[in-house]
């Protein structure tokens, strides 16, 4: 039930991003809730799961909003994988690491998308302007969301882990 709930949360995140969240624009930046969820789950669950979740979530985003498939799937898969990879180096209890990770991850995600779009479509944005007006506010926005979401998601993960241990010990007892 845990992973289907994560997928449903991704769907909800995308629906919110396309509707309600678009009215909460700061500067020119909107939060990327899906990226926040992918990277946090990647940070908690490891690179393999982070990569898969990123791939699925990004693919769904491509289908729902994009005309070409693969942009968001690729970018989010790499971010999920990277968050999981780096997550192994930090204690999960501290809030600063995922927050900074989301800041850097958002910049990397958007820069990667910028490169992909410029390579495959031929559109390129001036990097300095994009950084100031778009990327840094977005990264800050996502970091802020991480501060709110990470403790709750870690709590859910811990709860699920406890249940899983109980279940295993019962099975061993039987």
């Amino acid at each position: 039930m845990f992973y289907p709930a994560i997928i449903i949360s991704f769907v909800l995140a995308l629906l919110l991003e396309g509707s309600v969240l678009s009215f909460f624009m700061v500067e020119r930046a909107l939060p990327d809730l899906l990226l926040v969820l992918v990277m946090i789950w990647g940070f908690i669950l490891g690179p393999r799961v982070g990569g898969i979740l990123g791939l699925l979530g990004g693919f769904f985003q491509d289908i729902l909003f994009g005309s070409s498939l693969g942009y968001f799937a690729l970018a989010k898969m790499l971010m999920g994988y990277g968050a999981g990879f780096l997550g192994r180096e930090f204690y999960r209890e501290q809030l600063l690491a995922p927050t900074l990770l989301l800041f850097a991850g958002t910049l990397a995600h958007e820069l990667l998308l910028n490169i992909l779009v410029s390579q495959f479509i031929g559109l390129s944005m001036p990097i300095g302007w994009t950084m100031n007006h778009f990327l840094i506010p977005k990264a800050a926005y996502n970091s802020g969301l991480t501060l709110l979401l990470y403790p709750a998601m870690l709590y859910l993960y811990r709860g699920r882990k406890r249940e899983s241990i109980k279940f295993r010990s019962r099975r061993k007892g039987l």
Binding site: L15, L16, G18, S19, V20, L21, S22, F23, P47, R48, G51, L55, F60, I63, L64, S67, S68, L69, G70, Y71, A73, L74, M77, L78, Y81, L116, F120, I121
Partner: protein, 299 residues
């Protein structure tokens, strides 16, 4: 250890393969014109949900806009309320001026046609008690007003100047029990049928004409005017209309209930009779009084 390394390489190869695959997918789908059936199905499935979310988003935006604009709306509302209050007060004063203009026109017309020397005055105060009927006007003896001068309006007899100060005067109204006026019925003008008009305590909105002989030629609807006797009030000033006739208890005299044309509660401008044609008639009136007719116009 070697197994762990090979597992790591496997993952890396898988990742690189996925990246490569996705890059190919991006390249492949970049120039396409149609969506795959899977994409169509997903989009069709999610379209109503997206619509519902978009509506919710619009409602939320509208709510936040309202909240954000609340202060502006409040300021605007306060400004508009002030403007409305200002405009209402202007409208009210314009209506008041219109009414005043109308009244002054009537007074002017009356003044020009009356033949009296009249002094217009404004009512500046009225006795709030129910016992007396007096008003204060903004003309005093410096304006030529003297005690016992008649005060009228374009609608008829109002009262008499009771006392005059330099710039204001007290006027005793016909409805005051202290004042009585000799009067006749306009239709017959029988001087032998002079009665006294005075207040009617049982019904303060009316006056009464007393001391009429039983055989007096008077009917309901008759107009009652001042007789001019007593020397204070000019002859022929309109007082009111006979509403009904009542016999007193012993059955010796008649009393007529008079409905005055002047609304004593709403007097705003009056005219003080300074002189004029009335003065010429005064002698006659005094002469008649000397002959022993009873009405004296102040008790």
């Amino acid at each position: 250890m070697a197994n762990r390394h090979s597992k790591g390489y496997r993952r890396l190869y898988l990742l690189l393969a996925l990246v490569l695959g996705l890059l190919v997918l991006i390249n492949y789908t970049g120039s396409r014109k149609d969506f795959t059936p899977l994409e169509d199905a997903v989009r069709t499935l999610f379209a109503p949900v997206q619509q519902a979310f978009a509506r919710a988003g619009t409602n939320i935006q509208s709510f936040f806009d309202t909240v954000a604009q609340f202060q502006n709306y409040k300021i605007e509302n306060e400004r508009l309320l002030k403007e409305i209050a200002l405009l209402e007060s202007r409208l009210l004063s314009l209506k008041e001026l219109q009414k005043e203009n109308y009244r002054y026109r009537e007074l002017l017309e009356f003044k020009q046609n009356s033949g009296f020397e009249l002094l217009p005055a404004e009512v500046i105060a009225r006795d709030p008690s129910q016992w007396f009927g007096t008003i204060t006007i903004n003309r005093g003896y410096l304006d030529g007003v003297q005690q016992e001068m008649a005060v009228i309006s374009d609608r008829g007899l109002v009262g008499m100047v009771a006392s005059a100060s330099p710039h204001s005067s007290q006027v005793i109204l016909l409805t005051d029990p202290r004042l009585a006026v000799s009067a006749v019925v306009q239709r017959s003008r029988e001087m032998g049928m002079v009665g006294i008009v005075e207040s009617y305590p049982q019904s303060p909105a009316y006056l009464r004409l007393t001391n009429l002989p039983l055989e007096a030629n008077i009917l309901p609807g008759d107009q009652v005017i001042s007789s001019g006797m007593g020397g204070i009030f000019p002859q022929g000033l309109y007082i009111g209309r006979v509403k009904e006739l009542v016999q007193d208890q012993p059955g010796l005299v008649l009393t007529a209930v008079i409905e005055p044309r002047v609304n004593f509660n709403r007097l705003e401008e009056v005219l003080v009779v300074l002189g004029g044609s009335y003065q010429e008639e005064e002698g006659a009136a005094e002469g008649e009084r000397e002959e022993g007719d009873p009405p004296v116009e102040e008790r």
